[in-house]
């Protein structure tokens, strides 16, 4: 599906009241109220403050170094499209001296990912950036469509998420790039903080608010320059700049936007827009006790039930490699390889079933054999 440019309004207000003016330049009509501080701003001032805030986030966190090669995880969706556009713009405006490549993962979902990849390919031309596509099929010999056919639709996102994460790393490795940036925004981060609090997942909570993450021993770091950028502002930025992005929902997640933590967030935001940033700050300020101390305590508590597995577990920390594929893993075999092994099992089972049903004659024979007279 091709992209349709949003229509430019033709009705322009003739006389503006003072209360309608932008609170930064005091001369143009305000078009939005910024969710983080409720400031009313015009289009031009919005572009300026939004871009400058992202720039400040990048500079104050030393996200890039001069000469660094960076891959942008590009899905064709709104966040990564705005990210690609902005990072290119800021790199030129502020002379970061970085080298940018778009990196996309083709999960193999007909009618969804093939369309979104078409968007990425248009972006590649529009922004004049190199593009690399890695596919599940070439890396794992499975497409998501095939995975869903054997594993069912319910687990699709589990498989997809684990394989995609690894694919981005492998793609970066192939390009000899050690830094992947993604379009995760403030809403995503606040949602993750909330979910980790609800689940009591302390280990993840600490990691979830970091702008740059790197696993021990992994050559590839990840960062989120949109950490403090509101989803609403990203979408408005794309809208006003008329950026070409893809917004069809994945075939396997028709209900994904209903009844989730995201919904809770949107309702909270409607009451008090600053809550998104507030939740992130809360997450950042939850300082936890020293990790070893915490583990010791937990260990004594769970000693009995964990006795059997603890010896094996404690030797595999973050920074080990999967015995099968060499990917970084906290277990002997990485999650992707474990999932793959399960999939292979189901594939052979299904092939077997298909074979018998196809060979009609043989099946009749077997059925006959089972009949007792």
């Amino acid at each position: 599906m091709s992209w349709v440019r949003p229509t430019d309004p033709v009705n322009v207000p003739k006389k503006l009241k003072v209360s309608q003016l932008c609170e930064i330049c005091h001369s143009r009509k305000a078009v939005l109220k910024r969710p983080k501080n409720l400031q009313k701003v015009c289009k031009e001032c919005f572009f300026y403050v939004f871009e400058t805030e992202i720039h400040n986030t990048i500079v104050s966190n030393n996200v890039f170094y001069r000469g660094e090669r960076v891959a942008i995880g590009a899905s064709g969706g709104k966040d990564s499209t705005v990210l690609a556009y902005l990072i290119k713009l800021l790199n030129e405006r502020h002379n970061y001296g970085i080298d940018i490549t778009l990196l996309s993962v083709d999960e193999g979902i007909v009618g969804y990912r093939d369309d979104s990849l078409a968007t990425v390919m248009r972006n590649q031309k529009q922004y004049n950036l190199p593009l690399e596509i890695v596919s599940f099929k070439e890396l794992y010999d499975w497409t998501m469509d095939e995975i869903v056919a054997v594993a069912g639709i319910r687990n699709s996102c589990t498989y997809c998420g684990i394989f995609r994460r690894q694919s981005l790393d492998r793609g970066a490795e192939k390009l000899e790039i050690q830094h992947v940036i993604t379009g995760h925004n403030a809403d995503d981060m606040a949602e993750t903080v909330l979910m980790n609090i609800l689940r009591g997942d302390i280990a993840r909570l600490e990691k979830s608010t970091a702008i740059i993450t790197q696993s021990k021993g992994s050559p590839i770091k990840r960062s989120k320059p949109f950490k403090y950028a509101y989803q609403k502002e990203i979408v408005l930025y794309a809208h006003y700049k008329k950026l070409d992005y893809f917004s069809t929902e994945c075939t396997y997640a028709p209900e994904a936007f209903r009844g989730t933590a995201r919904e809770l967030m949107k309702n909270l935001e409607a009451v008090r827009p600053s809550c998104i940033i507030d939740i992130i700050h809360s997450g950042e300020n939850l300082v936890l006790k020293d990790e070893n101390e915490r583990k010791k305590k937990q260990f004594t508590k769970n000693k009995n039930q964990e006795k059997a597995t603890s010896a094996k577990k404690s030797t595999f920390v973050d920074g080990n490699r999967c015995e099968k594929c060499g990917y970084l893993s906290s277990n002997k075999i990485c999650k992707a390889c474990t999932l793959l092994a399960d999939l292979e099992k189901s594939r052979s089972k299904i092939t077997l079933e298909n074979d018998t049903s196809m060979e009609g004659a043989a099946r009749v024979m077997r059925t006959l054999e089972h009949l007792s007279f």
Partner: protein, 98 residues
């Protein structure tokens, strides 16, 4: 007669016959946003089960950005805004895709 262009963006078009742009001519002297939204729900949503993708508790669902001539409708009086001939009104989902 009021002519108005309505756009459903960011993936919202799925519940509007997959059509992003709808040019409407509404037979009325005056039309508020509330009236326009009622009209949209009655005439443009093909499957009534999809109404809650667009509305929640009779208001625009949180997570959908409503723009009146490119200005956030919260600066224009929301449901009370009087729609003018030639207005461009867009609804953009921030919840779809990623």
């Amino acid at each position: 007669m009021i002519k108005v262009r309505v756009e459903f963006l960011g993936g919202l078009d799925v519940v509007f016959s997959k059509q992003r742009v709808h040019d409407l001519t509404i037979d009325a002297e005056e039309l508020s946003m509330q009236g326009l939204i009622d009209y949209i729900v009655q005439n443009l949503i093909t499957n009534k089960n999809d109404v809650d993708v667009f509305l929640e508790d009779d208001n625009i669902r949180p997570g959908i950005i409503t723009l009146i001539n490119d200005t956030d409708w919260e600066l224009e009086g929301e449901m009370e805004y009087e729609v003018c001939d030639g207005d461009v009104i867009s609804f953009t989902s921030t919840l779809h895709g990623g």
